[in-house]
């Protein structure tokens, strides 16, 4: 479904990821793990069109999308939830969700994903009229994922969904990711919390200083002695 081939992205000459290749197949949950500064966020930005790769290709469903404008990539079916969520803070929860379905014309198309969003995150339905900025960190993350689901994506990309959230909600969000996949979507998730991420993922990549260090089935990576020592503190 998604194929990232030898992508290199740099900020003002500073290479953040170098010749990274990853594959995501339809229906998978793929986890990209790694320490801070390993280039995880840059990888997602390069796919979403928020950053333009210096070289390499990104192919989605057989079409090249690298170099395309970000809003067109969203329209093609890739929803991206960035690290800082980027909600519209002074708009209501409802308006934030409604904006997610901006691309659709008919009322039915627009409201179809609402069911799933409220099933995953019932507390959003209780806070519809509240401004997004008044939500807790965890609720804001739920809203950001909800807004992304409203675009009816085929691929959902999450950047550190657990960041700045109390532990109880972290688990809720990871469980939601599994249910999103069960609803027919593909998920690419970037995380520093490797243990939780590997638990729900089918396959995983480990990035280190901008390069792919290791890849394989999540279950195998989770038991790899080097990984356990270096990343899981075991």
């Amino acid at each position: 479904m998604l194929s990232v081939h030898e992508v290199t992205t740099a900020y003002q000459g500073l290479v953040a990821i170098s010749s990274v290749s990853i594959e995501v197949a339809k229906g998978e949950i793929v986890c990209v793990a790694g320490a801070n500064g390993a280039g995880k966020s840059t990888l997602l930005k390069s796919i979403a069109g928020a950053e333009r790769p210096r070289s390499g290709t990104v192919t989605f469903d057989g079409n090249r999308i690298d170099g395309m404008a970000q809003h067109l990539i969203t329209a093609r079916g890739i929803a991206y939830v960035p690290e800082n969520r980027r909600l519209f803070p002074r708009l209501s929860v409802h308006d934030n969700l409604r904006l997610g379905s901006y691309l659709y014309r008919s009322q039915a198309d627009r409201e179809a994903p609402l069911d799933l969003v409220f099933k995953l995150f019932p507390r959003l339905s209780e806070r519809l009229e509240q401004r997004a900025e008044t939500l807790s960190g965890g609720e804001q993350q739920m809203l950001a994922i909800g807004r992304a689901l409203m675009t009816r994506p085929r691929l959902l990309m999450l950047d550190e969904p657990s960041q700045g959230i109390m532990p109880k909600l972290v688990d809720e969000i990871f469980q939601a990711v599994k249910r999103i996949r069960d609803a027919g979507m593909t998920v690419l998730i970037v995380e520093q919390r490797m243990a939780e991420c590997l638990e729900i993922a089918d396959r995983a990549y480990i990035l280190q200083t901008g390069r792919v260090l290791m890849q394989g089935r999540a279950a195998e990576i989770a038991v790899n002695p080097d990984v356990r020592k270096a990343y899981l503190g075991l």
Binding site: T74, P82, D95, L99
Partner: protein
Amino acid sequence: MTAETIIQSLASGLLMGLLYGLIAVGLALIFGLMDVVNFAHGEFLMIAMYITFFLFAFFALDPLLSMPLVAAALFVFGAVVYLLIVRFAVRAKANAGMVQIFSTFGLAIVMRGLAQYFFTPDYRSVNHSWLGGKTVSIGGIFLPQPQLFGALVAILAFVGLYFFINRTDFGRALEATREDAGAVALVGIDKNRVFALGWGLGAALVGLSGAIMATFFYIYPDVGASFALIAYITVALGGFGSVFGAFAGGIIVGLVEAATALMLPPALKSVGIYAVYLLVVFVRPRGLFGSM
């Protein structure tokens, strides 16, 4: 000074104030949307007045009829100004603020120069329109018809704008872009398109006011300057970027101007506005309805 004179001039002040609000709202809209002050705002008004004049002079179209055409022409003009000039100015890598100021300021000077060259500095007027020069008497108060009509258009425009912003998809996209222009691509919105339409909409509102102004004001290349100054004060008074602050700000400016004219010699009629503006800036620098 009788009670009647006072009511009379405050009533005219209110009408003029509503028009000031209509002139200023495009400025507030664009500023709120992308933090860019359009220093060519007065020249947008000037162009709108000239278009009204030429439609009248060549096609005998009354300003009442040409108003939608003028608004449409200004819509296109505003969008083109964004796409050809402002879009590049906001991308400046260094000194972005200065680049924005001087790009629209430069545009203002170019527009004035071109108007002087092509339209000559002569004063023009739409000398016999349906409304021009006529008054209505309401309970002994005489109100000039062009201003009365202008006030009505202003009220309708603000009501329309309210529904447009709060009830339509594009209005919601506009609000979202105001909040975080960098985030709208996440839901598939092209921010450049929103910006271009925002400039178009802002300019179209100036177009409406230009068509009305042309019925009772002389038309010349520098006509925008004095109204632009009032528009900047209106917007700053109402709260920079607040569309409905511009409406309230316009009414305040109109009333204060009328009240000053009652008390001070005509040459000092603008003193009141600036005094109120200074007061607001000292007491509440974000303006009356500003939210930042």
